[in-house]
Amino acid sequence: MSLILIIEQILNGVQFGVMLFLMASGLTLIFGVMGLINLAHGSLYMVGAFAAAGVAASSGSFLLALMAAMAAAAMAGVIMEMIVIRRLYDRDHLEQVLATFALILVFSEGTRFVFGSFPLFLDVPGVLSGPITLPGGIQYPLYRLVLIAVGLSVALGLGLFISKTRVGIQIRAGENDREMIAALGVDIAKLYTLVFALGAALAGLAGALVGAIQSVQIGMGEPILILAFVVIVIGGIGSIRGALIGSLLVGLTDTLGGIFLPELFKFFVAPDVAQTVGSALASMAIYVLMACVLIWRPTGLFGARA
């Protein structure tokens, strides 16, 4: 196993992590500020990818497609919040899970109704396609490096937004004590809609960015949703910094675990057994990580409350 391979895998892990962050940051805000478990967050990711594929096909511009993805997801988020979610804030988590699960089905079949059952085409824009050679002779796809850069800059921007702006302060205040902030004259309903739209737009952006290297198809959001929940549990609910650290931890654990655990087992058992046992353990690795973090810090790495 060469050093080049290890560095390449670390880059892969970081890239996976920052894309997870785009999903997890919205989810953690919504969960933290409103106390709402939104299973349909993955559907917003899918909406973003489909909107991007549709706009990219008709306009040919990837940048326009990204903007359309964020706009469409934010719009879907706002409509969803106003029609359904708003009624769920005072209900318990089970009812929220049921209702947002129903929304997954509605979004899936609605998308099929509009776009058909076959996966759509969305490709990396020409200027970003192909590999580049990094120092040390590592060949790495340019687009994935751009994903890392975009993800990290979104993280930075979001961090500044939450810590420095007035709206950001209101969001943090809403997380701590929603009665008090309402009493101080902040329109809490509007704030909730805004947070929801922000989270949805980030999910839509992630869907479009990732859709270009994966397949734009119905149900694409659900696998990543589960990982995003793992991330926010590890990072601490409501914490943007926690979501970033959690995402990178999960991304690296998942990617490196899949490579190195089978190699590790090859020192002890026969190669085919090592492969089977190693891969099985690798798919559990992030859950083991989650369990360890929770034993050490029951509220997550940066969580204020359980």
């Binding site: 196993m1 060469s2 080049i4 391979l5 390449e8 895998q9 892969n12 890239q15 996976f16 899936s108 079949e109 099929r112 059952s117 076959f118 996966p119 759509l120 085409f121 490709d123 990396v124 396609s129 192909g130 590999p131 060949q139 796809p141 687009y143 994935r144 990732v210 270009a212 290297i213 994966q214 397949s215 734009v216 198809q217 119905i218 149900g219 694409m220 696998p223 990543i224 990617t255 899949g258 490579i259 492969q275 089977t276 891969s279 798919s283």
Partner: protein, 377 residues
């Protein structure tokens, strides 16, 4: 008996007798969720053949299994007990087929598989009422292995998802492939990012890549592979290169060789008519799944011409004779009721702005399957 109840009884008798004359077919297939494209193609191909036959005494009941084994089992019970179907068909996925087929055949129903061909149902678990009209799962992979030999690949890196059909795939490839293996990987089912695997391929020193990643997994893999700068030749079974998903892969698939028992440019009159009428009816090119649905319905129709389903032995013999015009040209059943057929190599090409496949040769001739010998009917 009052007049009223007499009339009711008579009406019911009449209803029963019309139901008797009709043949009822239950189709359980995947029409929603991620894998819906396959089920929809099978259904459309099947219904096209039924419509073209002009027979109005055949009723097809269609239900969506959502790709879930438990729902498929429930639907099977419903089809058999309340719909009283005579024949079942439609299932796409091997795990669903394993949940449904043995139960259905044990209750004396006929099952015609338009897609799934798990090894367990081809060997010891075969049944006289179970016919597979598509292929045994290993077949297309075996053909890929055979093709790899003919073009001189000697150090393949092979990968497939970690589930029964994925293991069948790699087993099938290795059964015919004679070279060395640079690496063998099982990925997670439903995995969407293959950066880590592609890095391993790059580091392995392989001279070719064989992969079985059906549906969205294949789209992701091919796009990422094309973008990675690794330019080793790729071989796969047709499942990642069917008409439904090629448009989503785009230029990344151009030139890739894949193996299939069917292609739209197979030169026989049945196929030409099928491709033309399918495109006219549905406004898209047919996939191999559509051809399998079409062949399944035509096999069924050919048997119904000869015998009624109520006469199970005669009907079974009529099915076994496979006396129908297949889109694949020659078609016959082996002793375990699985096809004996040619499997072709195809290449992905662009025609206008549509991505599609072109035949480039025969990979395996008159291939049956590796499990037929274990089948005792």
């Amino acid at each position: 008996m009052t007049l009223k109840s007499f009339a009711l009884a008579a009406a019911m008798g009449l209803l029963a007798s019309t139901a008797w004359a009709e043949t009822k077919i239950g189709m359980i297939t995947t029409l929603s969720g991620g894998g819906a494209g396959l089920g929809i193609d099978v259904r459309d191909g099947f219904m096209l053949a039924i419509a073209q036959s002009g027979r109005d005494d055949i009723e097809v009941v269609i239900e969506d299994d959502q790709r879930k084994p438990d729902i498929a089992v429930q639907l099977t019970d419903k089809m058999i007990q309340s719909e009283k179907v005579d024949i079942l068909t439609g299932i796409i996925w091997s795990n669903l087929a394993m949940a449904v087929v043995p139960a259905a055949t044990a209750q004396g129903k006929f099952y015609l598989s338009p897609n799934a061909g798990p090894s367990a149902l081809a060997g010891r678990g075969c049944h006289e009422n179970y016919f597979n009209v598509a292929w045994q799962n290993d077949n297309l992979h075996e053909a890929a292995g055979a093709y790899a030999n003919t073009v001189g690949h000697a150090n393949s890196f092979i990968l497939a998802p970690n589930y029964p059909a994925g293991k069948d795939a790699l087993t099938g490839y290795k059964r015919f492939y004679e070279g060395e293996l640079a690496g063998e990987l099982y990925t997670e089912l439903g995995q969407t990012d293959y950066a880590a695997e592609i890095a391993q391929i790059r580091a392995s020193g392989a001279d070719s890549v064989f992969f079985f990643l059906p549906g969205g997994m294949g789209i992701s893999f091919l796009k990422q592979y094309a973008d990675s700068g690794v330019d080793l030749p790729v071989i796969g079974p047709a499942f990642s290169f069917d008409q439904g998903i090629l448009q989503a892969v785009g230029p990344a698939a151009l030139g890739v060789v894949n193996t299939s028992q069917w292609n739209k440019d197979l030169d026989n009159p049945t196929n030409a008519a099928f491709v033309e009428s399918f495109a006219a009816e549905y406004g898209r090119l047919p996939s191999l799944y559509a051809s399998q649905g079409f062949d399944t319905a035509n096999l069924l129709l050919s048997a119904l011409e000869v015998a009624d389903v109520s006469d199970a032995d005669a009907f079974r013999d009529a099915l076994r004779a496979a006396n129908f015009d297949s889109t694949r040209g020659d078609f016959e059943f082996g002793p375990n009721h699985h096809p004996v057929q040619d499997i072709y190599a195809r290449e992905v090409v662009q025609e206008g702005d549509v991505f599609t496949n072109r035949l480039i040769g025969v990979a395996l001739t008159d291939r049956a399957d590796a499990y037929a010998a274990d089948c005792k009917m």
